[in-house]
């Protein structure tokens, strides 16, 4: 699939939840080092 025109600002502003249900802003993952983000279909 072709890469869409990704807005990094919008992506980085999104939050995800950790195992404790706490929010983490995505941008923090690539703030200090290159990040590899793997999106999986489901946990199972």
């Amino acid at each position: 699939m072709q890469k869409p025109n990704i807005s990094i600002e919008s992506l980085g502003a999104l939050s995800v939840l950790n195992g404790h249900g706490e929010s983490l802003q995505l941008a923090s993952l690539w703030k200090s080092q290159t990040a590899v983000l793997v999106f999986v279909r489901h946990f199972g």
Binding site: M1, K3, P4, I6, S7, I8, E9, S10, L11, G12, L14, V16, L17, N18, G19, H20, G21, L24, L26, A27, L29, W30, K31, S32, Q33, T34, A35, V36, L37, V38, F39, V40, R41, H42, F43, G44
Partner: protein, 134 residues
């Protein structure tokens, strides 16, 4: 996921941050870790906002064949019967590499269920990205 779990150290060796993001309830993280052996960063995007923004397909429009549709429906039904699948079974995944400047150096969107980049492919993408920033 098993390959990623076994070779997680390769990302650390490259001084990169590896994170796995799903869409299910974080309450199932423990079960996921036990099943896959993955003990790294793990998050959930229950709203699917990041999946959507990245263009990771959802529903039958993202399925490339009748067989994939059949498999997805079958998995969906099985997941609900067994209660073991957390997250959307019709949601497809993908992978991205982003450097500290916020530049996306690698993009992969699954075209069908089970379609994912190998660890070797991700490492090659990292090497290319790191070379560009040297």
């Amino acid at each position: 996921m098993a390959e990623l779990a076994e070779q997680k150290h390769r990302f650390k060796e490259k001084n990169t941050q590896l994170a796995v993001i799903g869409s299910g309830d974080p309450a199932y993280f423990k079960e996921f870790r036990e099943k896959t052996g993955y003990d790294g960063l793990l998050f959930s995007d229950p709203s699917l906002a990041a999946f959507s923004l990245l263009g990771f397909a959802r529903g039958i429009t993202g399925m490339m064949s009748i067989r994939s549709v059949f498999n997805a429906v079958s998995a969906f039904r099985q997941g609900h019967r067994q209660g073991s699948v957390q997250g959307s079974t019709l949601q497809l995944g993908g992978a991205i590499v982003i450097n500290v400047s916020g530049a996306v150096r690698y993009y992969f969107a699954s075209a069908k269920a089970g379609d994912h980049p190998t660890v070797d492919e991700l490492i090659r993408a990292l090497d290319r990205s790191l070379r560009r920033t040297e």
